[in-house]
Amino acid sequence: MSEIVLQAKDIKRDYHVPGGLFAKAKTVHAVKGVSFSVEQGKTLAIVGESGCGKSTLARIITLIDPATSGELKIDGQTIDINKAALTPELRRKVQIVFQNPYGSLNPRQKIGDVLGEPLKINTNVGASERRDRAMAMLKKVGLSEEHYNRYPHMFSGGQRQRIAIARALMLNPRLLVLDEPVSALDLSVQAQVLNLLADLQDEFQLTYVFISHDLSVVRYIADEVMVMYYGEAVEYGTRDAVFSDPQHDYTKTLFAATPRADVESIRARVARKRAA
């Protein structure tokens, strides 16, 4: 059995909304006690609709936001960013790729600088070494060296998402959090990015936390699936278990709502319509 990279126990996150002249102060429980663990080289998919707390959870795992309570272990080491400041070493271990590749790259930064910046901030690698590593990473994600001096607006959405992935990988992370990485992309480009993610996972033994609301993508990429609903994990299990035998009502609703593109269901629908 391979080692566990990420372990979370009973993670909770509350947001306090301060009261105003007419409104009372209130507390929003965004994440209500979620536990899970991911082994090295595996993918955990977190599924749920907007507002269910999946992005809040991503921010906690990425150590951007502290959890209100609960225990988060990365590589067996308990981390609480409320108590101790985040070390560069920890920052290197966890990286994130965001949903919108148009918003997550600085339009004034050349791609070379985008890729070099994590090294500049978190390590003391020299300028020429940074350049070499950025070049190598560009090739790894399927771009080429001539892209080094270009600006983000010169790239398509799929290429930008490749750049965002490259930036996340510059520090050789153990854990990569992917927050809806393909939902802004076309079907064919989505296939390319998913293939790239699978290749990179094999090569670097990366661990993924993959956040998505697209069940067909999740079924393709995930080893384990967690379904969230209003801040709670209502279903958690291996992909096959969740997809073949969903337990919770919400998971069933979700499956029922997903459009099916197989020939049998189309045939059934066309027949229904003819009959009506």
């Binding site: 076309d186 064919s188 067909s216 393709y220 459009p259 593109a261 066309v270």
Partner: protein
């Protein structure tokens, strides 16, 4: 040239899906029909007939009587297509005021009726809400209410559910199909989601780089795609994945690029 020689026909009571990637010109061809393209665009067509009338020969003011009344359109971003400065009641009544000669109280009544039809709770109260007070799914329902306000004969839905969650997407699609059936509308569904196509369409047009690659009824398209581009699109669906890797459009590109560079292959008549 964003769109090059596309022929599209929609029968009454028919759901036609137009599928393609971004940049394939699927929205542009529909905007051309609606006359919504900027003046920098030149629209040429051999004929553009709606309900037996030639839209090309019409004057602008005649056209405006049809657009919005008999042909209506809903867009991808429900939040962006409603005006944030006016209540939704005002925005629904605006269409009624423009196109129908109804009195003030009749308009109010019809607006409430429309909101009930699209499934918004407490319609009478909701008329006074602003778009920001409603969720994305509710805004899309309001957009649908505006579009069907004058009982159009043709409704064009441009990626109506792309910005929405799957559960909400299901509700909106069900609503559109119900309205389409009850009112006997023709419906053009522009989308890049093959799942949505599979769940809604009668007939499908596949577009690539401004050209029509294939036209077929929905079952034969999924069962036995003729064009290589359609095959590529279907293979890229994660649902159809066999083995470790997803085939990408690139793997098929040499096959259909050649086909689109010359003339589009002759297509068989739809069943």
């Amino acid at each position: 040239m964003a769109v090059n020689g596309i022929d599209i026909t929609v029968e009454p009571r028919e759901v036609l899906a137009v599928v393609g990637e971004s940049g394939s010109g699927k929205s542009v061809s529909m905007l051309a029909v609606m006359g919504l393209l900027p003046s920098s665009a030149t629209v040429k067509a051999d004929s553009m007939m709606f309900d037996g009338r030639d839209m090309l020969a019409m004057s602008a003011s005649e056209r405006r009587k049809i657009i919005g009344r008999e042909v209506a359109m809903i867009f991808q971003e429900p939040m962006a297509s409603l005006n944030p400065c006016f209540t939704i009641g005002f925005q629904i009544e605006e269409v009624l005021r423009k196109h129908l000669s109804l009195g003030k109280s009749e308009r109010r009544k019809r607006a409430i009726e429309l909101l009930t039809l699209v499934g918004i709770p407490d319609p009478a109260d909701r008329l006074n809400s602003y778009p920001h007070q409603m969720s994305g799914g509710q805004c899309q329902r309001v957009m649908i209410a505006i579009a069907i306000a004058c009982n159009p004969k043709l409704l064009i839905a441009d990626e109506p559910t792309t910005a929405l969650d799957v559960t909400i997407q299901k509700q909106i699609l069900d609503l559109l199909m119900k309205l389409q059936e009850e009112h006997g509308m023709g419906l053009i569904m522009i989308t890049h989601n093959m799942g949505v196509v599979a769940e809604t369409a009668d007939r499908v047009v596949v577009q690539y780089k401004g050209r029509k690659m294939e036209e077929a009824d929905v079952l034969s398209l999924f069962e036995n795609p003729q064009s290589n581009y359609t095959k590529a699109l279907l293979a890229a669906l994660p649902d159809n994945a066999t083995g470790d890797r997803l085939p990408t459009i690139g793997d098929f590109q040499h096959q259909f690029e050649a086909a689109s560079a010359v003339k589009t292959p002759p297509l068989e008549a739809p069943l």
